[in-house]
Amino acid sequence: MAVDWKRFILILVAGASLGLAWNAGSGRGMALGQSVLVQAGDELIATRAGKVLLDQGALFLDARPRDFWRMSRIPGALPLPEEDFERAFQEAEPRLRRASAVVVYCSGYGCEASHLVARKLREKGFAAAILDEGLPAWQDAGLPLDEEPRS
């Protein structure tokens, strides 16, 4: 076995360079510096700022599937799962109308549901911030979680 390591490195470097060049020049590219889930109009808030809003009485909405909300949630959060939006929205609407501020979260940076729910809320006339990096970051920061099972 005689591997030419220069060729090996060259394949990796050439492939990566082509990819970066294509991304910059093809018109199909994407912004590399931020999550592709973030679109114009999305308002993101950091974990700590979210905690401040929670203490001020902001309404938190859990965009994950309802079974996850049943197991645990940010204290006081209502379920507003993305796949059952219309029904859950009707349940949450009275609280939304009274809320001083609204924050939507889901399960971290890989989760698009909080973005989709926040946009649907915007279409209905409610401004909602997206909790950046969602529930995992909340837990990592040692912030409180309500783990009492709900039906």
Binding site: I11, L18, G19, V36
Partner: protein, 165 residues
């Protein structure tokens, strides 16, 4: 076994199969890098910005290595690149499984969002799980066979003795 893998025709078939698979797997990701980035986020192995870099560069490395394998140029090095990628994929899948993250579409070949659940192919072939790890281990074996084994041409059979009368 090694004699079989060293057979030039077996080497040719393995090389073409592996090359075609990696070229094919790269195309959808090259066409929709943002959709591929979303899939990488779901693996939750590296954060969003490093995931973006992976989404933009990885498919082109797959394409380059796949095309070289198809062309038969720099065979060992291209196969070693494929092997390296597979090792990374296997390690990332192990991490995803160990943390209990549910990734329904691994983004291995197609990055389109899975909409209606279809009966075929079954979901366990698309998600991150034991099937993916087993498949990648098999592909890793093929890649390493191309790296390590030198094709051996059997000596031509000796001329048959001409029967004499």
């Amino acid at each position: 076994m090694s004699a079989l893998v060293a057979h030039p025709r077996v080497q040719l078939v393995l090389r073409l199969l592996l090359g075609a698979l990696f070229v094919y797997a790269s195309l959808d990701k090259i066409a929709s890098p943002a959709a591929f980035a979303k899939v990488i986020y779901q693996w939750q192995v590296v954060g969003p910005v490093p995931s973006n870099l992976v989404a933009v560069t990885l498919p082109w490395i797959e394409l380059a290595a796949g095309l070289l394998l198809l062309a038969g140029a720099w065979k060992r090095e291209a196969a070693l690149v494929v092997a390296l990628l597979l090792v990374v994929f296997i390690a990332a899948a192990a991490l995803v499984m160990a943390r209990g993250i549910d990734v329904q579409n691994c983004g291995c070949v197609s990055v389109t969002a899975n909409t209606a659940p279809s009966a075929w192919p079954p979901a366990w072939t698309k998600g991150v799980g034991w099937f993916l790890v087993a498949r990648n281990l098999l592909l890793l074996g093929v890649a390493m066979a191309l790296v390590v084994v030198t094709p051996v041409r059997r000596p031509a059979p000796l001329a048959l003795p001409v029967p004499t009368e």
